[in-house]
Amino acid sequence: MAAVRTGGEIALNRIAIVAVLVVMIVFLAPIYWIASTAFKPRALATTVPPTVLFQPELTPFVKLFTKRVQQTKPVDPATYAAAPWWEKAVYDGGERILKVGDSPQLSPYPDRFVNSLIIAISSTLLAVSMGTLTAYGFSRFKVKGEADLLFFILSTRMLPPVVVAIPMYLMYRAVGLNDTHIGLIILYTAFNLSFSVWLMKGFMDEIPKEYEEAALVDGYTRMQAFFKIVLPEAATGIAATAVFCFITAWNEYAFALIMTNRRAQTAPPFIPSQVGSGLTDWTVIAAGTVLFLLPVAIFTFLLRNHLLRGMSFGAIRK
């Protein structure tokens, strides 16, 4: 359509683009602030007025991964000269890295990060594989009381975590699953399963039945048709569902706070617990936060065409 645009419309469009720019700045400024704090020298993290321009450094990340103590006396020049750059950076801040023999002692952060990875990945694999099978079942076969069953499945997702956590805590305590990886994996699988069923059902419904029916006529069994025809067709949907499940498990806080305290603790309850111990070093907190948020930021970008669908439990497609 070749609409003639009036001068007024063009002006309006220009104003809108400026407004979009302002919105972008407002919404991205908080993220920029935490990300930039992760590269600031400690003294510049808490200044009045706030420091915007500075020489970025990696010291906060070195500190994030190591155990350190305050230096009481100046470091021996020879030791300082022999130290690698990352150790020098810590010396420069008046601290020294604790060591066992020659290797530096690690802070709890990498441990919590790995816990988050193990728990998020395992629960995602479980929730997506079970969800895919169930979605196929609902999509292709007649199920008695299908609408009620699907409502039941969705309603488990809507339960407030603290409500479920009270009895789960007591049950886990009875069977020794508190503060274990398996305990959290089960909880996150249950939490993501309903989502995975709903989203995958939408994707399954879009795959034409005729594909499998042709395969069945060709002599495939139903199982062969499912694995060789349906699953490859559903690959994109499965990947999108998996990323959503991963992000949910990765971000989860309430269950992790209640069910874990050390061994299986994930990053979300751990990172905030570092604040408030007297002299909080915000550069280190920011470094931990940035590393933790990075995977989600990358996934959001990869998922961009599926976000609408995922956020509406598969109800709205585009």
Binding site: K142, N251, L293, R304
Partner: protein, 301 residues
Amino acid sequence: MVVSVLNTLDPQSRAAARGWSDLTIRNIFIIPTVLFLIVFNIFPLIYSLGYSFTDFAANRNVPWSFVGLQNYRDLLADQRIWTNFVITAKYVIVSVGGQMIIGFGIALLLNRDFPFKGVVTTLLLLPMMLSAAVVGLFWQLLYSPSWGPINYILGLRNFGLLSDADTALYAVAITDIWMWSPFVMLLSLAGLSAVPKHLYEAAAIDRASSWYTFTRITLPLVAPILMIALIFRTMEAFKTFDLAYVLSVQPTTELIAIKLYRLAFQQWDTGRSSALAYIVLIMVLAITNIYVKYLNKVKER
């Protein structure tokens, strides 16, 4: 369509004769999921329903007794619990209201062609994908009364938005609005792009004012999808725990989920907290029911 499904369910069918029957496959695909959810979601709830009628305390090794409806009676008569509900209602109204207005507003802005539209939209969606607990943590830094950039920009000097009893709840709501306006924006954009172009063209030919076009064409057509955003966000805001818990320790920000957490895991009043959990649960299920009805409505369009 139904006929073909029924045919394949016939145990004598050709496909069924080779390998597992469709009936078996359907059952082994669906039953484990349903069982899993019953064992890890429904069974615990039945368990805690039992506890809600007792004076059980999980941290003490003393015998507990059955108290009937006492916990429910006490809770509903407790002025402080009502205060928590009022705080929660205020929080839901402010934060969801803000998200609806800002989210829809941004969607109206973005609903046109401009360079890098895809990148801009994706970047704006980032906040809602982040962990609420970690977002709460870094907003503490932004809100810091002594050196936070927000106080500096607003010229608030040493006024702690998060530590003042009157402003703390609004400060938490603003963070929530920052996180979730993009969600409303995302749904609104989908709604806006589905409005048929010819309606606008017809309105332009009739020289309708832009206000008329907006209220008579745009709004009614986007309304169902806005309703979904509204119900979903209301339900989520009602359940809010992590963001408010990490951001603020003020009693004026003690949402019902935080009260529940403290009652259960700090005061260890297991019986009473189970009863409160049930009161909250019934409210959430009521909203869920409305939500699903709307989802199905929109799906059918």
